[in-house]
Amino acid sequence: MNLLELARKNIAGSAFRSWTVGLCALLVAALTLATSLILSGAEDSLRLAAERLGADIVVVPEGTEAKVESALLMGTTTRVWMDEETLDAVRAVPGVQAVSPQLYLSTLVDAACCAVSDMFLVVYDPQTDFTIEPWLKETIGEGLKLGQVVGGHYVFVPEGEQNIQLYAYLLTLRANLEPTGTSLDSSMFLTMETARDMARISESMALEPLVIPEGKISTILLQVAPGFDLDEVALEIMHQVPGVTPIVSTNLFQAYRQQMTSLRTSTTVSMVTTLTLSLATLALVFSLATNERKRELGMLRAMGATREFVFGSLLVESGILALAGAATGIVLTVMITSLFHNLIVNTLNIPFLLPSLQGLLGPVAGGIGLALLCITLAAMVPAYRISSMEPAMAMRE
């Protein structure tokens, strides 16, 4: 019989206390991990989306900032238009090194079943593009040809077929992008040439034709020449080109960042509430339990246990419960956040990427550490009080 064995037996012997303490540990660890996973995952996702865009400034039709941002981040289908001439006007602004137009299209809502429904299509111009083309050259060694597309992470060819059919047009999937944790994973990128071809074919073949307005574009991606300040160039565009709003890449997704701030606030509040409640419950459970065990602990001292042994055995007991509870909480959280990832993204309307196994270590250690700290703190006070009591006093009723 040693301290650890005694602690284990005592845990098994008092089910109510053990379950309460374990459950508190589970809650604290799970909530800590879930919060840090979602918040840091969301930040990763925002950063990645801005990086992927690869432009210094995005010029959008005035008043459509939010729509475009949610399209770029979440892959929400959107239709925004401005005149093609805007492109030349923006190019003429001093400090602008390169511009490239993009068109945002969407497929029919609920098109053929599962593989593609309500899909966000990004049409780019391979002649001027500086964001997708370089990636393509690196990945597949060449640009997209007529009828070829690049898909988000989840885009794939339906089973038993060679092509993806959109508007009665057969598309060949050349490559897939890395996951972003958003609906952007089910969006598609294609060239202007392919889009026009698709529109042409759809007129006669599809139930509802794809309409690309003549002389219109959705957004302009822009690179700023070295030595120029992004904000100044953006300001200049605002002055010189009417009817558009330039968004500097670092300011992208403002709406989402604000949403994240409120998410952070609400999770902080719920964290603090859970921690306080857990601590209060634990303090109550431990002081009740230690009172109830006064006589037993006094008896152990009479039988030759030192003060340290009594103190230690109480802490070891609570420590085992804390670790077991926290470990369960961690496993549950990891399972639930990865299994229900899409549901969480859709419910919170904030994208988040699950971290790699390595990135998981920090938050996991944090969760377990916090649970252990809470429980040790709550157990420490009554454990100290009882272990420094005279054994004869402890044994008296």
Binding site: D110, A112, C113, C114, A115, V116, S117, Y154, F156, P158, S183, D185, S186, M335, I336, L339, F340, N342, L343, N346
Partner: protein, 137 residues
């Protein structure tokens, strides 16, 4: 073993009911063919298969409740674990669900079934170990 049996019955009911509420068909979605007919999607068939898995699991739970013999309890637990594995494999590999990550079957049905399957395996394993304490006859 009453508790284990009861848990398995509850989980079996979940396996049977969840697909009915969360398959795409439950939301009136189906593949529309050019000739006007519609055929059910993958998730519908997964739902059917889960129902087929839920029935024996229900039986396992029900038989487990009054059983006291160790060998029988262990055999039932192993059966429960195997069905739990089926519950996970059906929507993930064997049949699958619809491909679009934003569809209900993908967002809710698959993870719920996977999670329930894991719980079934856990409960089954617990049953197997608890059965060691039961009497052998």
């Amino acid at each position: 073993m009453k508790a284990i049996g009861g848990l398995l019955i509850i989980l079996a009911l979940a396996v049977g009911i969840v697909p009915a509420l969360t398959s795409c068909e439950s939301r009136g979605k189906a593949i529309a063919l050019p000739n006007g007919k519609s055929i059910p999607m993958k998730c519908h068939w997964t739902g059917r298969a889960e129902l087929v898995a839920a029935v024996p699991l229900l039986a396992v739970g029900a038989i487990m409740m009054p059983t006291r013999r160790r060998e029988t309890l262990q055999a039932l637990s192993v059966l429960g674990i195997l069905i739990g594995a089926m519950v996970i494999l059906l929507p993930t590999t064997l049949i699958g669900v619809c491909a679009n990550p934003d569809m209900l079957c993908n967002m809710v049905m698959k993870p719920v079934l996977t999670f329930t399957g894991m719980l079934i395996i856990l409960v089954g394993a617990a049953g197997f170990f608890l059965a060691r304490r039961a009497e052998s006859q």
